[in-house]
Amino acid sequence: MCAIRPSPVLTALAAAFVIFLSEPIGPALAKEMRVTISNFTFEPQTTTIARGETVRFVNSDDMVHTIVAADGSFRSDALDTGDSFAATFTKPGSFTYFCGLHPFMKGTIVVK
């Protein structure tokens, strides 16, 4: 359901769309939503995006966290303070993710 950027396939796909849609800059496919990790909480708790959009998880906490899909489809490396991880969602649905170190931290990505 998801590909982790940078992915050559996605990059190629995005490039193809850029050309096809003739958009000069900032093609819709490259739109990036942000989820911030602060005080052991994902903000916002639920992020709604369109298919093909990317979510970037930014750790602004003073503790290391990881991003793990509940269905096992993706897993970030350790994200220390200031690190980030991006995932692109290509299928519609509701996807739960959590912190692999502190699994009480959960969030949801809704892909329309």
Binding site: F40, D62, M63, G100, L101, F104
Partner: protein, 316 residues
């Protein structure tokens, strides 16, 4: 340490000779296995420590050294671990060995494991490890830990061994964690534990050590283990069971029947008492306060000079 076995014959241990004496100071927790009346003693008190050691074996627990953590104001986790190990080295009576209840490193980096090994190695003591969740976040998800501490262990690093007449069991409850879940032992490890305990005399004192508490300290912050009850059921028939954990960076304990549960302080940073803060993040405190919260100061925290309190509570 792995599967090292020692002959316990002649140790004279009975079910009455449990882990009856415990101390918290500075470096972690000094445990003494001896008969008779439990005593509280200072790690730095030579006379009392010597007296305690006559009764049997002492071992030390350190936990949550988080080598790589550098968010405290004036010291790093390397500094405070070095201080803690300095206190171990200065002990008038050398413990038989140490256990480390996980989160050796902060980010599972090779350099962090190396620093920890170098510092802890200066004690020249055997150390039995179990991993914390911070030790398994290398790209290989635990390969770095197992490469260093996996010898003689099974699965993600669980193992057991006998020492001084006590059966020690190191459990791993930090893998395959589920969204919204707590610590996790898993079916494979529980089956191994059942097999490990089978045929063992109920009078054998048991020490179980694992990173995340094996009882529900504060589930809202993940301070518990989902399938711990299954492990505790297997341990229920033993006359003396001591469960030692880390993870929560503070001392919490309870006694339930023949089981004593205890968590150790971190050597790196404190965490808030359950429910006293919104979240369980590191407490960043002034350096002069920090050491007292890491237990680097001698702390007169004891169960008392009387016998361990025994309460008639079942696990059901």
């Amino acid at each position: 340490m792995g599967k090292e076995r020692e002959n316990s014959a002649g140790s004279g241990l009975t079910r009455r000779h449990a882990l009856e004496c415990m101390v918290w100071a500075g470096t972690g927790v000094l445990w003494t296995v001896s008969g008779g009346i439990p005593k509280s003693l200072s790690l730095l008190d030579a006379a009392e420590a010597a007296e305690a050691s006559q009764g049997g074996m002492t071992f030390l627990q350190i936990s949550d050294s988080h080598v790589g953590f550098d968010k405290e104001k004036e010291v790093t986790a390397v500094d405070t671990l070095t201080e803690a190990i300095g206190k171990v080295r200065a002990l008038p009576v050398k413990p038989t060995f140490m256990i480390h209840t996980g989160d050796i490193t902060h980010l599972s980096k090779d350099g962090e494991f190396d620093d920890a090994a170098r510092i802890i190695g200066t004690t020249r003591l055997d150390v039995a490890y179990v991993p914390g969740e911070h030790d398994l976040i290398d790209p290989g998800q635990g390969k770095a830990y197992l490469a260093r501490h996996g010898k003689g262990t099974l699965g993600a690093g669980w193992h057991s061994f006998d020492r001084g007449g006590v059966h020690f069991i190191g459990l791993v409850n930090v893998v395959d964690l589920k969204a919204g879940g707590l610590g996790n032992l898993g079916a494979e490890q529980l089956a191994w534990l059942k097999n490990d305990l089978e045929g063992r005399s109920a009078s054998t004192p048991i020490v179980v050590f694992a990173h995340i508490p094996l009882w529900a300290v504060y589930p809202k912050w993940g301070w518990g283990t989902d399938d711990a009850a299954q492990a505790l059921m297997l341990l229920k028939r033993f006359g003396s069971v001591t469960v030692l954990n880390g993870h929560i960076h503070q001392i919490v304990q309870k006694v339930e029947g023949n089981m004593t549960f205890h968590t150790a302080r971190s050597t790196a940073f404190p965490q808030p008492r359950p429910g006293t803060a919104e979240k369980p993040g590191p407490m960043i405190v002034p350096a002069d306060q920090l050491r007292s919260m890491l237990g680097l100061t001698s702390v007169d925290f004891t169960i008392g000079k009387e016998r361990l309190a025994v309460t008639d509570t079942t696990l059901a």
